[in-house]
C-alpha cells in the first residue's frame, strides 16, 4: 500500500507518536517526507 508513496505523518503524544508511525511506514516501503508529533493538551 505504501510502496513508492510519499507520506506526511502527524502523530499525537497520547495516541501514536510520529517516530512510531514513521518506522511502520518505512517498513512498509513508504517514503516519509515530513513527520511531526503534536500534543493537544
Amino acid at each position: 500500500m505504501f510502496n513508492g508513496k510519499k507520506i506526511i505523518v502527524f502523530g499525537e503524544r497520547d495516541g501514536v507518536a510520529g517516530p512510531t508511525i514513521v518506522e511502520l511506514i518505512q517498513a512498509a516501503g513508504g517514503d516519509v517526507v515530513y513527520s511531526v508529533t503534536e500534543c493537544f493538551v
Binding site: G11, R13, D14, G15, V16, A17, G18, P19, T20, S35, V36, T37, E38, C39, F40, V41
Partner: protein
C-alpha cells in the same frame, strides 16, 4: 541518609474570564474573526459557577476525584451544592482580587490600573490573609482612563478588562525587543503572580516561615528573558522574592509538562543529600492555555471551561515521621534510547521502577497520571487523557499476568481516577493528586501511590523525543 517527605501542598485556582481573549488560540482566532470575542464572552462562566464546578472542587481538595463518578454528566450542569471557595489546601480567587495580586507582583510598573478601580482592588485584597499592608502599599497609584487609552493607542499596551470593561493596561518594556512585548511580559507576570499565591498559600498551610525556605524551584512553562536570552528564566527567585524567602536561592526546571515531577525528584535529591532542608517546588498558571479548546465548547454550547489559571506548590523536606515518603530508590525515567512507543514509555515509568523495589502494578493503590479534565478535552476531540493512560497501565498489568484481560476496566476504576485538573500544561501532570494522597496515607486508607508525568519535547522542534518521569509516594512507616 534520612528519608524525604512531602510535607504540604497548596492548590489555587484563579478565575480569569476576561483573559480568555489573551489565550494563544483565542487571541489568534479573534484577529481573523473579531465577532468571535462576542461569542466567547457569551459563554463565560460566573465566578460562583466556577467554584461549584465539581472538577475544580476536586483540584482544590474539597472533593475526592473518585466522587466524580457519582456526579451526573455533564459536570458543568451538575454544580456541587454549597461548594466552598476555600479548601484545606487553597482557595479559588476571583478576577478582581487577582488584578490586585498582579499589581503587587509587578516590579517594573508594567500594570496600570484605572484610578477609579484601585480602591476596589484595595478592598478586595484586604480579604486575602496571604497579603498584608506591605503588599497593598503597591496599590496606591492609579492612572486616568485617558492616559491608559493613550498607552493602548500609541505604545502597544494591552487593555485589561473586568466584566468586559477596560480597567487598565499592560505595557511592553522595549520598543522593538519582541521578548519584552506586552504579550510576552503579561504571560510571564501571570505565571509569577499565580505562583506567588500558591507559594504563600503553601507557607501558610505548612507553617514554614519564609526565611526557612532554603531552595525554591519553578516547574512552569513560560520563557523569561530579553532577546539575547529568551529563556534565561529563574522565575523561582522572582517568586521567592515576592514571597519574602530571603534566605533561599533557586532555579527553574524546564521539562515541558513533566516539569513538576522532575522538580520534585530534584528537590528530593537536594534534601536527601543534606544540601538543603526545605525545598519548595511550584507550578504557576499558564495564560497561553486559556480557551485552548474553545471551539469544542462553543460547538456543544458549553461554557468556556478553560477560564481558569491553576497554581500549585509543594514542600519537600526531611523525614518528620508523619508525612508520606518519596521512594528515591524507585524513580522512573524515560531514557533517550527507549523510543516513542506508548508501551515503552509506560513500562519505563511504571513497571520498571516498581520492579526495582520488588513491587507489581497491583501493589499501587492509585496511579496519578496526566489528570486533565476530560470535560474540557473531549468536546474538541482530544479524548480522555487520564483514561487513555490508565488503560495502558492496565494493559501492562494484563501482559505481566497480574490480572486477566476481562478485569482491565476494573483495574482502571480501582487504581485510576477521573481527570479533574485545569488543562494548564504542567499543572495537571500527576501532582494534583498529591494532596489527596497525603490525606489518605495519613488517614491510613492508602499505602502507596505512583505519580507519573509525560513531556512533549518535540513541541520545541529540537528533538522528536517524548519524555517522562515518575516517583512512588508511600505512607510513612513511622506514622501510626
Amino acid at each position: 541518609m534520612s528519608e524525604v517527605v512531602v510535607k504540604g501542598c497548596a492548590y489555587n485556582i484563579i478565575h480569569v474570564p476576561d483573559f480568555i481573549r489573551y489565550g494563544s488560540k483565542p487571541e489568534r482566532d479573534i484577529q481573523s474573526d473579531p465577532e468571535l470575542l462576542g461569542k466567547l464572552t457569551a459563554h463565560t462562566r460566573k465566578f460562583e459557577d466556577a467554584v461549584s464546578y465539581a472538577p475544580n472542587q476536586a483540584f482544590l481538595g474539597n472533593l475526592h476525584p473518585d466522587k466524580l463518578h457519582e456526579i451526573g454528566n455533564p459536570w458543568f450542569k451538575h454544580p456541587i451544592p454549597e461548594a466552598s471557595q476555600t479548601s484545606k489546601y487553597g482557595r479559588m480567587i476571583p478576577e478582581d482580587e487577582f488584578y490586585a495580586i498582579l499589581k503587587i507582583s509587578d516590579e517594573f510598573d508594567l500594570v496600570w490600573i484605572d484610578e477609579s478601580f484601585l480602591p476596589h482592588l484595595r478592598e478586595t485584597i484586604e480579604q486575602n490573609p496571604l497579603f498584608d499592608e506591605i503588599d497593598s502599599a503597591r496599590l496606591e497609584t492609579g492612572h486616568s482612563p485617558e492616559n491608559i487609552q493613550k498607552k493602548i493607542d500609541t505604545e502597544d499596551s494591552l487593555p485589561l478588562f473586568f466584566n468586559q470593561k477596560c480597567i487598565g493596561c499592560f505595557h511592553r518594556h522595549h520598543e522593538v525587543d519582541q521578548a519584552l512585548s506586552a504579550e510576552v511580559l503579561m504571560e510571564n507576570l501571570l505565571t509569577k503572580a499565580t505562583a506567588g499565591i500558591a507559594v504563600r498559600q503553601l507557607l501558610k498551610n505548612t507553617g514554614l516561615q519564609p526565611e526557612d525556605v532554603g531552595y525554591i524551584m519553578s516547574s512552569s512553562e513560560e520563557a523569561i528573558g530579553d532577546r539575547y536570552q529568551r529563556g534565561g528564566g529563574n522565575l523561582a527567585k522572582a517568586v521567592g522574592e515576592m514571597c519574602r524567602c530571603v534566605n533561599a536561592t533557586g532555579s527553574d526546571v524546564k521539562a515541558f509538562c513533566a516539569g513538576p515531577v522532575y522538580a520534585i525528584v530534584h528537590a528530593a535529591s537536594l534534601v536527601k543529600s543534606g544540601i538543603f532542608d526545605n525545598v519548595v517546588v511550584f507550578g504557576g498558571g499558564c495564560m497561553a492555555k486559556l480557551g485552548m479548546k474553545y471551539q469544542g465548547h462553543l460547538k456543544h454550547d458549553m461554557p468556556i471551561l478553560e477560564d481558569i489559571l491553576g497554581a500549585e506548590a509543594f514542600l519537600i523536606t526531611k523525614d518528620d515521621g508523619a508525612n508520606p515518603i518519596i521512594r528515591t530508590d524507585s524513580i522512573g525515567i524515560h531514557d533517550i534510547g527507549s523510543g516513542a512507543a506508548q508501551q515503552a514509555i509506560m513500562e519505563s515509568l511504571t513497571v520498571k521502577p516498581l520492579r526495582k523495589i520488588g513491587l507489581k502494578l497491583s501493589d499501587v493503590d492509585k496511579f496519578s497520571t496526566e489528570m486533565h479534565n476530560p470535560e474540557v478535552t473531549e468536546p474538541q476531540g482530544s479524548g480522555n487523557v487520564p483514561l487513555n493512560n490508565y488503560r495502558m497501565i492496565a494493559a501492562l498489568a494484563v501482559m505481566n499476568k497480574e490480572i486477566e484481560k476481562k478485569e482491565l476496566m476494573n483495574f482502571v476504576k480501582k487504581h485510576g481516577m477521573p481527570g479533574f485538573s485545569p488543562t494548564q500544561g504542567h499543572i495537571p501532570a500527576a501532582v494534583p493528586f498529591l494532596g489527596h494522597a497525603i490525606d489518605a496515607m495519613q488517614a491510613g486508607t492508602m499505602q502507596r501511590a505512583q505519580f507519573l508525568a509525560k513531556g512533549s519535547l518535540f513541541l520545541g522542534r529540537m528533538s522528536h523525543l517524548s519524555d517522562g518521569m515518575s516517583f512512588v509516594l508511600e505512607k510513612n512507616p513511622q506514622a501510626a
